[in-house]
């Protein structure tokens, strides 16, 4: 199957529209990655060298940088590409959708995830907390929100790939919450950044909190792949187990931290 779609790729674009050449965008983000956030990794040996894997991470901060940190970091540290799944709404906007595609972001659709993982053997990053992570109340700082209904577990099982949890510490400190607001029934944290720099600049002007990333051992599944469905209760149990392990890891990382800025 893959060979039919190999033949007509642009020299730099893959079938998902990802630009496989390094670009100015990568160079700019690299500067932020190395010098501003000073990202450090542990546990990279848990990432598979060749085959597909579903990476799951905690999600925090307004206009979160976690996706970019993981994509860029894994590529820099291991040479492997990571694809990110995002809500289809982003792709409706001119330039936004195209830029996302060029950087390896794909519409979050079960079929897309399955092809990336199983056919292409890629690593795919998802944030099971969804939008709940970035808008969580101040009181929930460093607390992982519920991992939905376990859909990501089913995605990994069906594709026959392991889940590799990645815990990020420091991303929520790049845009710390000052006040919990509610606008139109939706939670909208007011960040220190938006108070200091205004709503627009504040969304992108992140504080230089040091970010640490710890890759946990992969979670393998015994269930056979390609099943039409898996028991819902099992999916939720597995999701909660992974969430709990990630929470324990984040708690340990936060308590070992000397300062938000130095790590």
């Amino acid at each position: 199957m893959a060979r039919t779609f190999d033949s007509d790729r642009s020299p730099t674009l893959d079938r998902w529209g990802r630009d496989l050449d390094r670009s100015l965008r990568d160079s700019f983000f690299d500067a932020a990655y190395r010098s501003w956030f000073r990202v450090e990794w542990e546990g990279l040996e848990h990432l598979p060298e060749e085959s597909g894997a579903l990476l799951v991470s905690n999600h925090a901060g307004m206009m979160p940088v976690d996706g970019g940190v993981i994509q860029h970091g894994v590529q820099e540290e291991t040479g492997r590409l990571v694809y990110l799944l995002a809500h289809h709404g982003f792709f409706r906007f001119p330039f936004v959708g195209r830029t996302l595609k060029r950087s390896g972001t794909v519409v979050a659709h079960p079929d897309n995830a399955h092809r990336l993982l199983r056919e292409d053997g890629r690593m795919v990053l998802v944030f099971p907390e969804g939008e709940k992570g970035p808008v969580k109340p101040k009181s929930e700082r460093y607390r992982l929100q519920r991992f939905g209904r376990g859909g990501f577990i089913e995605t990994a099982m069906r594709a026959g790939v392991p889940i590799v949890p990645i815990v990020l510490m420091g991303t929520e400190d790049t845009t710390p919450t000052l006040l919990d607001l509610e606008i139109g029934g939706r939670r909208m944290p007011l960040t220190v950044n938006s108070v200091l720099f205004g709503p627009l600049l504040g969304a992108v002007a992140h504080f230089p909190a040091k970010i640490r990333a710890r890759v946990l051992p992969p979670v393998h599944f015994d269930e056979p792949p390609e099943r039409p469905s898996y028991p819902r209760s099992m999916l939720m149990d597995r999701a909660e187990s992974i969430r709990s392990d990630m929470q324990d890891t984040l708690d340990e990382m936060v308590s070992a931290r000397e300062s938000i800025w130095r790590g």
Binding site: T4, G17, P94, K101, V107, D111
Partner: protein, 330 residues
């Protein structure tokens, strides 16, 4: 030995099917049929004029008299047979009449191949990259997709009622090549080609030769079921424009709407309403099922586009005796 009839045989797809089936070993007879006297004599062909709408009985009698065992229906969706626009409805009534003729007691038909259309699949930001035959289709009323779904559903009913008849529904991608241009190819044939600002959708074309080969394969193998058909590969819009050798012209990512006739007359690059979503979000189908069945496309996307570019430039030069200026549609 097979005895084949091709309906809507005067269309470009129909004519290509006649040639493909005549070249196939094990085929004793290939007849081309049209229900319209005016289309009975395309260049190099003499077609049988056999009405089947609204009364299927003349066609049923024809099938029995000629001992036809294979019916290839080419006119279900006009733009997928090489005529008509993207907005044309599927010919549901013709499908019902053909099905009724095939189901008659004296019928010898054991294979019915329908050239359907990938227009059944949704186009939007929420769609997957590669659309598959088994996916659930959105239920919409009074759209082209709805009429295709209705026609396909009728054909599948016939397959259920007549287990001895293999019904193959081939969903063809937009046509190009050998002088045929579906709506997407027609846009790519222009110079310059409109490029929606801020988007670079993934597209896919089907060369007429590949379309005929796939339909012939389905007839020969007596396939059953629904299959996507396209030429090999996929390509992003801006790369597709480059492959034609034409210039690209950035335009706002909205359909031309009411201004379309005026823009067309003035030769100003624009995107027709019928194609705006496709050019924003793309439309590609998965070929895994038909490839597993044993058919593989021969043409590549860049090859089709290069051919399209050459043809359109030849037409442009030939029409005026000299190269046309920019902003003129072919």
């Amino acid at each position: 030995m097979r005895r084949v009839v091709v309906t809507s045989a005067g269309t470009p797809l129909g004519l290509a099917m006649l040639a493909a089936m005549r070249a196939m070993p094990g085929v004793e007879q290939v007849r081309g049929v049209t229900s319209n006297e005016r289309h009975a004599r395309p260049i190099g062909e003499e077609l049988d004029v056999v009405p089947y709408v609204p009364d299927h009985r003349p066609f049923a009698e024809y099938l029995e008299k000629e001992s036809i065992d294979t019916v290839i229906q080419c006119g279900l969706v006009p733009d997928r047979s090489g005529v008509g626009s993207l907005e044309s409805e599927a010919d549901v009534i013709a499908t019902m009449c053909l099905g009724a003729a095939i189901a008659q007691p004296g019928s010898t038909v054991r294979s019915w191949v329908l050239a359907s259309s990938t227009a059944v699949y949704p186009i939007g930001s929420h769609s997957s990259l590669l659309q598959v035959e088994s996916q659930e289709l959105p239920r919409e009323e009074e759209t082209l997709a709805a009429s295709i779904v209705e026609a396909e559903a009728y054909a599948r009913d016939v397959a259920l009622r007549l287990p001895h008849v293999n019904v193959a529904i081939l969903r063809l991608q937009q046509l190009a090549g050998a002088g045929v241009r579906g709506p997407l190819a027609a846009l790519l044939a222009r110079d310059p080609v409109p490029i929606p600002i801020g988007f670079d959708a993934t597209i896919q074309l089907l060369h007429l030769d590949d379309a005929a080969a796939a339909l012939a394969f389905a007839a020969r193998e007596e396939l059953s079921g629904v299959y996507n058909v396209a030429s090999a590969g996929l390509i992003h819009w801006q790369e597709a424009v480059r492959a034609t050798g034409h210039a690209g012209f950035p335009v706002l990512p909205v359909g031309a709407s009411l201004a379309e006739p005026l823009l067309e007359r003035l030769g100003i690059p624009h995107i027709p309403d019928a194609l705006i979503d496709l050019l924003r979000f793309g439309h590609v189908v998965d070929l895994a099922k038909i490839e597993t069945a044993g058919w593989h496309p021969r043409k590549q996307q860049r090859e089709i586009l290069a051919e399209l570019g050459r043809e359109s430039r030849q037409v442009s030069r030939g029409a005026s005796g000299r190269r046309k200026g920019p902003f003129r549609a072919n």
